[in-house]
């Protein structure tokens, strides 16, 4: 078995190889990418927990090591599943797509090398280094998308930098105070630290990297523009995987540094710090949900839903009891898979139609049925409806919130959950259902290579929804590792203090219900199949059925209620223009003046110095 260090190096070198291969032949390079990533998945899958490797040294007295933990392994496997599926999708997708294929494939591998390092880092600084490599790789891919993606990439990297530099600040503070950086030692030292302020500062600042990455309020604004404009297949990686890196850091900040032991309980066993973070999660859920309802661009819509789901994960992790933490971790898996499959189905739609605007499409189900199935199962999971896996995690989060008596958070998670029915239905109705546009009448289903990963996602989601044991097992081992009471489960039955449920029974009963309905359907006379244009129109004769499609302003009646919502994107734009204004002011005043102006400045400096010195 190849060592992790070598695996990361293979990816770094592989990115150059991939560049050359893709230059020679697009498909060959993509296949190479897929094989390499699958190989990484194979390696990570079989790696033993507790395995350690020395990597390299930067600071004195700090061993740079990679260590396999249950938490990291779980995240790495989820990530690599998503990326390898997407890499398979790309084999076909890259053929037609007007991007720089060689650079795309090469940067993808660069990003994966960073991701691998992030999940197996044993200390804060190594994590930061690989984090930045992953950011670099993904940042380079983003601007290959739509026109606005150039700006998106900047917003992405700046937001990410804000978070990761705060993280770095905290890292060095820890290093300065304790002289160590590995997670285990840091958590021990933190536990013995008497300064509450320092603990708050450290955990909040470390969490801020996760906040920026997983799109939690107040650093959520990059998701809309970045996910919305990145290359279509890459959006699946962004939302399905990169955002989960943020969740990983949040999980570290909250559980590896045992917040419940570091701080006294504020409300029913939840410390104030966790409570603050949970509230950030709440606000993200609200913003994500309500803004997603408004979007007409399907990719931006799911981008907002990623904000909301990031909020769910944070809420789950923040509760830090057995069931809530498990719910948060399970939601990582669910959202990764669901978001990836939704974005892949969108990529397939864009591949054929070339647009992401919901109201420019319609009735695509008649041309792309398998893409529709992928989207459908994806949204069922995203909205948390049984029998898909998405429900399990939502149920866990609800249960733990009820048992903790956190009713406002609970209400907000309900809003997010019911709201998700609303926003996922908008592309469903606008893009896939309804009247087929005339210009899309000769659209075909995407090639089989693109369908395979999409349908594998479908199978995976339903499989885990019915038989969640593999995921639950890894969650149990993670909970044992970080010292939380592990959840009880027996394969398909999940137990909480509030009660239990059996995924298999629910699935069976659903199948039975469906069969009963099907029997009823079959014994009664068959209906006559009519055209889509054979409609009740209130007696009007329609010339253009393209217009007989309800997709523009789908939820206008509710959007109206919050049209004047405060926009954080605008606020941040104002902040940026404020900085630019200061810069411009400086430029005008100091750098662009006449020589006499310079003399003035020199005089000022002399005066200041005289005043300070004497």
């Amino acid at each position: 078995m190849i060592s992790l260090t070598n695996l990361i190096l293979v990816f770094l070198i592989g990115s150059i190889v991939s560049y050359l291969l893709t230059k020679a032949n697009k498909i060959l390079g993509s296949i190479f990418n897929f094989l390499l990533i699958s190989y990484a998945l194979y390696v990570v899958w079989n790696i033993k927990v507790g395995h350690e490797e020395v990597l390299f040294r930067i600071l004195r007295d700090v061993e740079r090591t990679l260590k396999v933990t249950n938490l990291g392994k779980y995240f790495a496997i989820v990530s690599l599943i998503v990326i390898s599926f997407v890499a398979f999708f790309i084999i076909e997708w890259i053929r037609k797509k007007d991007i720089k294929p060689a650079a795309f494939n090469s940067f993808l591998l660069l990003m994966v090398s960073g991701i691998l390092g992030v999940f197996f880092s044993n200390d804060l600084l190594t994590l930061y280094i690989f984090w930045e490599i992953a950011v670099l790789g993904s940042f380079l891919i983003v601007p290959m998308g739509k026109k606005e993606s150039k700006r998106a990439a900047i917003i992405y990297v700046v937001t990410s930098a804000i978070g990761s530099y705060m993280y770095l600040f905290a890292t060095f503070s820890i290093y300065q105070r304790y002289g160590i950086l590995s997670f285990e030692q840091v958590s021990q030292y933190l536990a013995n630290d008497s300064s509450n302020l320092f603990k708050w500062f450290v955990i909040l600042f470390i969490a801020s990297a996760g906040i920026a990455k997983s799109g939690i309020f107040p650093l959520h604004t990059w998701l809309r523009i970045t996910h919305g404009n990145a290359p279509d297949a890459f959006s699946a990686v962004l939302s399905g995987q990169l955002v989960k890196m943020g969740s990983y850091v949040l999980a570290i900040a909250l559980s590896v540094f045992p917040t419940t032991q570091l701080f006294s309980s504020f409300y029913h066993g939840v410390p104030l710090l966790n409570y603050v973070l949970i509230w950030l999660g709440n606000i993200s859920i609200l913003i994500g949900t309500f803004m997603a309802i408004r979007q007409n661009d399907m990719k931006q819509l799911i981008a907002f839903s990623s904000i909301a789901n990031g909020g769910y994960i944070l809420v789950g992790l923040g509760i830090m009891n057995s069931i809530g933490y498990a719910g948060g971790l399970f939601h990582v898996f669910n959202h990764a898979i669901a978001a990836a499959m939704i974005f892949l189905s969108f990529a397939a739609v864009v591949y054929r139609t070339g647009t992401t605007k919901i109201d420019e499409m319609g009735g695509l189900i008649w041309r792309m049925p398998w893409t529709f199935v992928t989207y459908l199962v994806g949204i069922i999971s995203l909205a948390g409806i049984p029998p898909t896996s998405g429900f399990i995690s939502k149920w866990m989060i609800f249960s733990s919130l009820v048992s903790k008596g956190m009713f406002i958070t609970l209400a907000i998670t309900f809003i997010g959950s019911v709201g998700s029915f609303l926003y996922v239905f908008r592309p469903l109705a606008g893009v896939f259902l309804g009247q087929l546009k005339r210009k899309h009448s000769d659209v075909k289903e995407v090639p089989i290579i693109m369908l395979v990963p999409m349908l594998l996602f479908v199978i995976l989601t339903i499989l885990i929804g019915v038989y969640p044991k593999p995921v639950l097992d890894s969650i149990v081992s993670i909970e044992n590792e970080v010292g939380i009471k592990a959840i009880e489960h027996s394969g398909t039955i999940i137990k909480t203090p509030l009660g239990q449920w059996n995924t298999l029974t629910v699935f069976t009963m659903f199948s039975v219900g469906f069969i009963i309905a099907a029997i009823l359907y079959m014994i009664f006379p068959k209906g006559k199949k009519v055209d889509l244009t054979d409609q009740y129109t209130g007696g009007e004769y329609l010339y253009n059925y393209d217009l007989y499609h309800y997709a523009t302003g789908f939820y206008r009646f509710i959007e109206r209620l919050y049209d004047k919502h405060p926009s954080f994107e605008k606020l941040y734009e104002k902040l940026v223009s404020f900085f630019r204004y200061i810069g411009y002011f400086t430029y005008k005043l100091v750098y662009k003046t006449s020589p006499s102006g310079y003399v003035f400045w020199i005089t000022i400096v002399i005066l200041i110095l005289f005043w300070v010195r004497w």
Binding site: S399, F421, G434, Q500, F514, A518, L520, G527, I558
Partner: protein, 293 residues
């Protein structure tokens, strides 16, 4: 044994549901000084519709209806009817609420799949209305769950040994009842199907068999919704007292809806989020403070 219990639950749903719907039409007519159809009218309607040849708008239209009916049947199987519990210990409230959404999603998908914008508008409204009533409902229920420390519906029912939850938590009960009206889609909350505005909304393209299956689905949905309210708020009941309580709740709901006009859709959301939601929070606060009678 489980199979028999499931069959019993489904049959109860079918017969009692359709009967009560017929009775409701009768009551409605009497309130409006009409004679009204006989109580078994809905049986006639369903079977008549099922036996006709209708039109279909393609596979998603058919599939949506199957998914709707299948989802609701599955949901109904998990609902305890008094002491008739098909899956003891597995009747988790959240399962029921979310499994219920499968049916709703199936219906929405099938109807929008018909390609008629009226259906899309109706579904958009229905989902919006859901956003309105689900939140106060779930918060009120969550208060009950927190108080009794269980999320099993039959567990919640059995826990009401001394008094009914309705009397313990009257505000929560009221909230749940108002939300129930929204769930049932009865006036004043029948915006999604407003016949005069959007040609019955989702049902606009339905005919014959499809209509019949959807009527069944509707009946089962009503049964699930009211059963949950009865189980959680109206004390311990056996099968018979359960049906009695069920009938009373249904009749009250019908009477209320018989005399009210229709809300506009944003009024629905505003109303639910202003009055019932704040009441639900008040109730939850009482529960947290221990002010439960």
């Amino acid at each position: 044994m489980t199979v028999l219990r499931v069959i019993a639950v489904l049959l109860t749903g079918f017969f009692v549901g359709l009967t009560l719907e017929g009775i409701a039409r009768k009551i409605m007519a009497r309130v409006q000084r009409r004679y009204g159809p006989p109580w078994y009218q809905n049986f006639i309607d369903v079977f008549k519709a099922l036996s006709k040849r209708g039109i279909s708008h393609g596979w998603i239209f058919d599939f949506g209806i199957l998914m709707a009916l299948g989802g609701v049947i599955a949901t109904l199987a998990f609902v305890p009817l008094g002491d008739l519990v098909a899956f003891p210990g597995l009747d988790n409230i959240f399962i029921i609420v979310y499994l219920f959404a499968v049916g709703a999603l199936g219906m929405a998908m099938g109807m929008v799949g018909s390609g008629n914008p009226n259906a899309s508008i109706g579904v958009a409204r229905a989902l919006t209305q859901m956003l309105g009533y689900e939140v106060p409902y779930l918060v009120a229920i969550a208060g009950v769950l927190y108080y009794y420390k269980t999320s099993s519906v039959s567990g919640l029912m059995m826990a009401q040994q001394d008094t009914w939850t309705l009397f313990k938590m009257p505000i929560g009960g009221i909230v749940a009842f108002i939300s129930l009206l929204g769930m049932l889609g009865k006036k004043p909350f029948d915006t999604p199907i407003a016949p005069a505005e959007i040609a019955s909304g989702p049902m606009v393209e339905l005919s014959a068999k499809y209509m019949g299956l959807l009527m069944l689905m509707h009946t089962f949905s009503i049964f699930v919704e009211i059963s949950l309210f009865v189980d959680i708020f109206l004390g311990i009941s056996n099968y018979l007292t359960f049906l009695l309580k069920f009938t009373v709740v249904w009749i009250i709901a019908t009477l209320i809806s018989a005399v009210l006009p229709r809300f506009r859709i944003e009024q629905v959301v505003k109303f639910y989020w202003k009055v019932p939601l704040s009441l639900a929070f008040v109730q939850v606060l009482f529960v947290l403070l221990g002010w439960v009678f």
